[in-house]
């Protein structure tokens, strides 16, 4: 039988099945046919990581308006763009961060600093200040009193307290809120006096911050000037447990996806996550700041968090990874007193001493705007390549390097100073120096400790784990 070769045309084999689909490609998947796959992918990984560094430009905008340091910020639940901020001068502004304008601005919301803001429900905002008042505001364009955006706003309600308030937080669902002064007080929105006082007996401290748990919304946590962290439950109406730490904490934040996890920003330059089921030791220590950490906030995904420090940097951490956070800084940003993630986990806000609120990308190299599917696939591919090849020395080196020094390492390899710089990100010199100093001090401490141990009887003093050093006492 003569063999007849047939010309045939089956469109389904090489045309997309539906209009939007990618064109089907036929290729030989036999690994023997691709001897250079690995080499090619490595090169791609290198390129990907270089691109990342090149496009790493996190700063987006600064929101102005405050005259003094931005003490506190709060995002409106359920929205992406509405953020309220309170300042040391008593001014309160509600920002629309996508349009970068003020929705509401009250210059004299409180006398003295506004120590806390939080949204009560849709349009109502609670602020507390050192003037011993909690005020309830309507944030709508035209409020109940008929005051428009340009009018002077009057608070809807004022809850007078006995001492200066340091923090305020609203219950996630119920119309109650908690304030922190020298005690923790639970208020009903409809009542002018606190409905209950919570305090750990024998404590005479100033509560500096308070937060409701997000998922287990009756659980409440506070930090105090007595280096304490205290856990409350409004169902039992008790302060349930307290831990005393080496240094006081400046801020706290509950994880949105891990309800038992709480993050504390400590004065000792570190951040700690605790599992409230076992408060004896922190579950993780996050070390990179070179000065006190002033604020912290979880990403809504619970896999990242942002912290702002006295060292004028904003750092973005991966949950569970205690070192090497992403560092954001600008020349004019001063001490960062408040930080916030937006509720789509894409942006980070930082309010600082210079009175500005800055908007940053949560991932510095992320491309903003609409992506088509091919581009997204390419980006995802690059990300996974980076992940896969992070063990490669060169890839790793570049990923740790800075934008500037990347070019230095690529083009001016001969220059030794620059190439040595390429090891890490560029950070402001004072921060760098402070880091060096800190390292020296810690090293000295370590050496001293070691020597001390060497000169005591064997087995008498054992080195304690870092985690065990954090909590001095757990009180019930």
């Amino acid at each position: 039988m003569v063999k007849i070769s047939v010309l045939q045309h089956a469109p389904s084999t090489h045309l997309p099945a539906r209009p939007g689909d990618p064109t089907p490609t036929s290729r030989n998947l036999d690994p023997l046919m691709h001897p250079f796959a690995r080499a090619r992918e490595r090169t791609r990984a290198l390129n990907a990581v270089k691109m990342e560094r090149i496009f790493a430009k996190p700063f987006i905008a600064a929101l102005e308006g405050h005259v003094d340091a931005v003490e506190t910020m709060a995002r409106k639940p359920g929205t992406l763009n509405v953020v309220a901020s309170g300042s040391w001068d008593g001014g309160m502004i509600v920002h629309d961060i996508s349009l970068r304008r003020h929705i509401l601005r009250v210059d004299e919301a409180h006398k003295g600093k506004i120590s806390g803001v939080c949204f009560a429900d849709e349009d109502r905002l609670l602020t507390c200040g050192v003037d011993r008042n909690v005020k309830l505001w309507d944030t709508r364009e035209v409020d109940e009193n008929g005051a428009g955006p340009s009018d002077v706003r009057k608070p809807l309600n004022v809850f007078p307290g006995k001492s200066a308030f340091n923090s305020i937080d609203h219950h996630r669902t119920d119309p109650i809120f908690a304030t922190a002064s020298n005690i923790v007080q639970i208020w009903d929105e409809t009542k002018s006096a606190p409905i209950s006082n919570l305090s750990f007996p024998t404590s005479i401290e100033t509560i500096s911050a308070i937060k409701f748990n997000l998922s287990e919304s009756s659980v409440l946590a506070s930090i105090g000037s007595d280096r304490t962290f205290t856990l409350y439950d409004i169902r039992t109406g008790k302060a349930e447990r307290r831990i005393v730490m080496q240094m006081r904490s400046n801020a706290l934040s509950w994880s949105p996806t891990f309800p038992t996890t709480i993050l504390l920003a400590s004065e000792d330059h570190n951040l700690y996550t605790f599992d409230i089921r076992s408060l004896k030791t922190p579950s993780q220590i996050y070390k990179a700041h070179v000065a006190a950490v002033m604020s912290c906030d979880w990403s809504p995904t619970g896999h990242q968090f942002v912290s702002g420090g006295w060292d004028r940097t904003v750092r973005i951490w991966q949950e569970g990874r205690g070192t090497a956070p992403e560092v954001y800084h600008t020349k004019r940003m001063q001490r960062v007193t408040s930080t916030l993630f937006t509720s789509d986990a894409k942006y980070v806000l930082s309010g600082s001493d210079d009175g500005n609120i800055r908007i940053w990308k949560a991932r510095a190299h992320e491309k903003l705007g609409i992506l088509d599917s091919r581009e997204r696939a390419a980006i995802e591919y690059r990300e996974s390549l980076k992940q896969k090849w992070k063990t490669d020395a060169q890839v790793n080196k570049i990923s740790r390097s800075d934008f500037l020094s990347l070019f230095a390492s690529v083009y001016i390899v001969a220059d030794r100073q620059l190439s040595s710089l390429s090891r890490t990100r560029h950070i402001p010199k004072p921060v760098h120096k402070a880091g060096q100093l800190k390292r020296t001090m810690l090293e000295a401490q370590r050496v001293k400790e070691e020597r001390r141990r060497k000169h005591t009887r064997a087995g008498e003093s054992k080195p304690t784990a870092e985690k065990r050093k954090v909590v001095i006492a757990e009180q019930s």
């Binding site: 045939q8 290729r27 796959a37 690995r38 992406l80 119920d174 809504p300 995904t301 896969k388």
Partner: protein, 1039 residues
């Protein structure tokens, strides 16, 4: 008060434990209550969550056993009993707690309600004992009451003893007395009465008058019953005062009530019986009760403080201190409100006596009372409350435990999130608002004007949903019975048919017969063809399209010149034809004829016997035939020459002479060459044809067995080649080259093709100077195309076919081999080689040599492989020299090779090289001493030891640790590859546990080039996916 007047018989639980509980529970409550009252009286604000508070505090009590140990070591059982109710109290709150809302307040309310309800019913039952009043007073003066209660219990105990002693004698008298006194005091309904009695009982210790004894005796039963009743009743009463007690009390009381019921059930009969006799007994009871209420009314008023006499039984200093009881003195005159107490103790039996006449259940009552009293003996005192700080700490501890438990409910979720490979946020998708049309329609209410207008219209037209439904149902209503039955029958029929069709299909699907299938397929095809006229490409699947395509192509290729074409058919069918058409037809026919002739014409002249059918088979067959005939001719020619030779050898002639022989040989050689050329040409083409048939594109190697080879994903089957092992040791080869005694076996083994092989010429043509190291791998020459021994029918399985092919090949190969062997054998016989010159005429000696070669092969097999290389060369030389017909050349070549590799001892060299390598890498010490430096010179100086600091130690690689240690045939370099080092990792990266794991993960590329689209997408999916512009809310408890 009013409702309390009617006396009723209280139920007495028989179970010992129950009573115990009741008593203890009561005592405990009292103590707690007093404690609390002191605590809460000052706190004015009412925090909603306070009840919770109390509950927790209770939890605390239970939790800290060690704390309470000292205080109430005697109440061992009660704690266990308390566990149940407490837990019940706690649990509903925690579990059933509403998501985010406090939810506690409402919860509580419910409990309170139920509590109250219960209490009310209870009250009726125990109304006779006037509890409400009593408890009110209790509430008023708590501290005292606590002490009183604690005192009552021991009293009962004492009584119990007495009861045992005096039971029989005292009964009647006490009963009558009780009645009398009851009658006296009936009217007095002082609210405080009951308490007073208690007081009196308490105080009885020091001074016991006979009267008092009687009173107390009477008192006995109410108090006993009260002990259990209060468990039920107190909560309600306390509710009025303090809300915080609710929780706990409810827990206990409900539990008790449950127990009550369970225990009492056997007693139900008794109770009902007593109920019947209520009238009879009622009066006496009533008397008794009223008597009791009136007892010592004034007493209490006068000396509430005095009552607690220094009790002799309880001597413990601590307890006394706590209780703050004051010595009791006789105060006031004896009157109806304050009867004097010199009498003997009031006995339980005194109280029971009135029942003696009527009660069938008296005995049981007595029994239960006995148990009650005996047990209460141990329960002398209640614990003192803990210090407030301790208490609070315990509270906090318990509260923390609860919170921990609560948050621990998230642990599974958290674990899942932590372990997830991919997370798409928001994690908790908002419940999609998938509202069906129906739902919308049901909910729809016209709001706007337009809507309402439309609605009105619809309504007027009766077109709204409900109207339509109504009309439909109406229609159904109008159907007659017959119609309905007909419908039903139709439906049933359809169902039946469907079922049958299904069954049939199932049965058919099971048939395995091939013929049946074939027939079926044909039928289907027919149907499809019929239907398929109209159907277009789209619904044709690939297979059928392919089939169609093939068919069409075949038609194109075959039918153009035949009268079976579509057009031709049409023409034939048409019948009458015009000029043009006729011409066309004739043209077509003539073309067909021409083609046929062309195919057959070149071949043999006799095409007449070839059939008229001009299929492809025929064409091919013709070509084959032609070839075959040509080969035959050649063979004939050969044979002729052989014959000539033979004859020539025999006769002595001029041809015997050397020069003539030479000339003849030359001529023959030339002729041969021509023949060979031809053969090769034909053979190759033939071969190609063969190859065409089989689909494999691989080359065919000479072999005897089949090998399956896999090259780059495709499997090819072919006759296996017994390839010479190329990796046979070189050293062996070289050494063996020199040995001439191997020769026979070598030659015997040689697989040289026959002299007819065209290879030498071919090679000669291809390369001017033949490479002696190259051995030809195949011998495609084949003079005669083989007849198929086994007919392979068209429809035989493909396996069969391929097998057949293999067999064919193997056979071919075998023949060649045997031929070669023959040749070789001929070569061996030296004389023949010399004389014959050409060994192409091996025909006559064939049988002999075959056997010979067989033998030789047998014994030569062992070492034959190693010689293969040499053989190859020799063989080649042989072939090359064949044209000159000089066998000696082979030996020359051998010598040449031996000489060429004379000093080439590869194995030794290799070993040497390896040793050197190892030595170089080995760790060593280098003495870096500079002679003359740092040492003394001159005569008489001893040579100093090398200074240790001048000895440089080079840490090399220990020979035993080398990778090639004990591997004789390889040298593995231990040197570091600097270029490769760039791509190495220092240590195993974190998540991996083994090198292989890591390498494997790095080996797999993730790009689109190496993966399917889905694989790529899956491989590059990021761990956390967030959608831009989507609010991610914190986790929420979902109900």
């Amino acid at each position: 008060m009013a409702r309390a007047q009617k006396p009723k018989q209280s139920r007495r639980p028989q179970a010992k434990s129950l009573k115990q509980n009741n008593l203890r529970g009561f005592a405990k409550r009292q103590s707690l209550k007093s404690q609390r009252s002191s605590k809460y009286s000052e706190s004015s604000d009412v925090y909603e969550y306070q009840p919770e508070n109390v509950r927790r505090s209770k939890v605390k009590l239970q939790l800290e056993k060690d704390e309470l140990d000292g205080a109430r070591r005697d109440i061992s059982g009660s704690e266990d009993e308390d566990d149940g109710p407490k837990r019940n109290g706690l649990r509903p709150r925690l579990v059933g707690e509403n998501d985010d809302e406090g939810g506690l307040g409402s919860d509580e309310d419910e409990e309170i309600d139920s509590d109250e309800a219960f209490d009310e019913s209870d009250e009726e039952r125990f109304a006779g004992f006037n509890f409400s009043t009593k408890t009110k007073s209790v509430a008023k003066r708590k501290p005292q009451k606590r002490s009183l209660q604690s005192r009552t219990v021991p009293l009962i105990d004492l009584n119990e003893d007495e009861v045992e002693l005096e039971e029989a004698p005292s009964e009647n008298a006490s009963a009558s007395e009780g009645e009398d006194s009851a009658a006296d005091d009936e009217e007095e309904g002082d609210p405080e009465d009951f308490i007073d009695v208690l007081d009196m009982i308490d105080g009885k210790g020091p001074a016991e008058s006979a009267d008092e004894g009687e009173h107390t005796q009477k008192e006995e039963r109410p108090s006993a019953s009260k002990a259990r009743v209060e468990g039920d009743d107190v909560p309600h009463l306390e509710d009025e005062d303090e809300d915080m007690h609710d929780e706990e009390d409810e827990g206990i009381s409900s539990d008790e009530s449950e127990e009550d019921e369970s225990h009492i059930s056997p007693m139900d009969d008794a109770i009902s019986a007593s109920g019947d006799e209520d009238d009879d007994v009622g009066t006496s009871l009533h008397d008794l009760q009223s008597f009791i209420t009136n007892l010592d009314a004034g007493q209490k008023r006068k000396a509430p403080d005095d009552e607690a006499a220094p009790t002799t039984e309880t001597g413990e200093a601590r307890r006394q201190k706590r209780r703050m009881l004051k010595e009791r003195t006789e105060a006031g005159e004896e009157n109806e409100f304050a009867p004097h107490r010199g009498a003997t103790k009031l006995n339980l039996d005194d109280l029971l006596n009135p029942l003696a006449s009527s009660s069938s259940n008296l005995l049981s009552l007595k029994k239960s009372a006995k148990i009650l009293t005996s047990i209460s003996a141990k329960n002398q005192t209640l614990s003192a409350p803990l210090p407030q700080r301790t208490q609070e700490r315990l509270d906090r501890e318990a509260a923390y435990q609860q919170t921990k438990e609560e948050v621990d409910k998230w642990s599974a979720t958290m674990k899942k999130i932590k372990e997830a490979e991919h997370l798409s946020f928001p994690l908790q998708a908002q419940p999609a608002g998938r509202t069906s049309n129906l739902e919308l329609a049901a909910k729809f209410k016209p709001t706007t004007e337009l809507e309402s207008a439309v609605d009105r219209l619809l309504k007027s037209a009766k077109m709204r949903e409900e109207d339509i439904a109504q009309t439909e149902s109406l229609k159904m209503n109008h159907l007659s019975v017959e119609e309905v039955s007909a419908r039903r029958a139709e439906l049933a029929k359809m169902r039946e048919l469907m079922f049958r069709a299904e069954a049939k299909a199932k049965r058919v699907a099971k048939i395995k017969s091939k013929t049946y299938r074939r027939i079926k397929k044909k039928e289907k095809a027919k149907i499809a063809a019929k239907l398929g006229e109209g159907s277009d490409d789209e619904d044709m699947n690939e297979e059928t399209r392919m089939k169609h395509e093939v068919e069409r192509a075949r038609e194109r290729a075959t039918l153009k010149h035949k009268n079976t074409g579509k057009w031709a058919k049409a023409m034939r069918a048409r019948g009458d034809l015009d000029e043009d058409q006729r011409r066309d037809i004739s043209e077509m026919l003539s073309r067909g004829e021409k083609l046929r002739r062309r195919i057959q014409g070149i071949g043999s002249g006799d095409e007449s016997e070839e059939g008229e059918d001009d299929t492809e088979d025929d064409e091919e067959g013709a070509a084959d035939r032609i070839k075959a005939s040509a080969f035959e001719e050649l063979a004939q020619l050969d044979k002729g020459s052989e014959g000539e030779e033979d004859s020539g050898r025999k006769g002595k002639s001029i041809f015997e002479m050397k020069f003539m022989k030479d000339a003849i040989a030359r001529d023959q050689q030339r002729a041969k060459q021509m023949a060979d050329d031809f053969v090769r040409e034909m053979g190759e083409s033939n071969h190609e044809d063969d190859e065409d048939d089989e689909l494999t594109g691989g080359r065919i190697e000479e072999s005897s067995g089949a090998t399956i080879e896999r090259v780059g994903g495709r499997v090819t089957y072919r006759p296996g080649a017994q390839l010479r092992t190329v990796n046979s040791l070189a050293s062996d080869t070289s050494s063996i080259t020199l040995r001439s005694n191997d020769l026979p076996s070598d030659v015997a083994r040689s697989v040289t093709p026959s002299a007819t092989s065209p290879i030498p010429e071919k090679l000669g043509i291809a390369t001017e100077a033949p490479n002696p190291w190259l051995a030809p791998r195949q011998d495609p020459a084949k003079a005669v195309p083989k007849k198929h021994e086994i007919a392979v029918s068209k429809d035989s399985a493909s396996v069969e076919k391929s097998k057949n092919k293999l067999r064919k090949k193997a056979q071919k190969h075998e023949e060649e081999q045997s031929k070669a062997r023959n040749d070789a054998a001929v070569d061996i016989s030296m004389s023949n080689v010399m004389t014959l010159g050409d060994n192409s005429s091996a025909g006559p000696s064939k049988p002999k040599t075959r056997s010979q070669s067989g033998n030789q092969r047998d014994d030569g097999d062992d070492d034959s492989d190693v010689h293969s290389e040499v053989e190859e060369q020799e063989r080649l030389l042989d072939r090359k020299g064949k044209g000159k017909a000089n066998g000696v050349k082979a030996f020359e070549q051998r010598d040449l090779v031996a000489r060429a590799f004379a000093g080439d001892n590869v194995v030794r060299d290799f070993a040497e090289a390896k040793r050197r390598e190892m030595q170089e890498d080995a760790p060593k010490e280098v003495d870096t001493t500079l002679p003359g430096w740092g040492s003394w010179g001159g005569t008489g100086t001893r040579k100093a030891q090398p200074k240790p600091h001048l000895i440089k130690k080079v840490a090399g690689v220990d020979p035993t640790t080398r990778a090639d240690y004990k591997k004789a045939h390889v040298i593995i370099s231990e040197k570091r590859d600097k270029k490769a080092a760039k791509y190495m990792v220092k240590d195993l990266p974190y998540p991996y546990t083994s090198k292989a794991q890591f390498e494997r993960s790095m080996d797999i590329p993730i790009g689109t080039e190496w993966n399917t689209r889905v694989g790529f997408q899956r491989g590059t999916l990021p761990k956390i996916v967030t959608k831009p512009g989507t609010v991610i809310n914190p986790l929420e408890k979902l109900l």
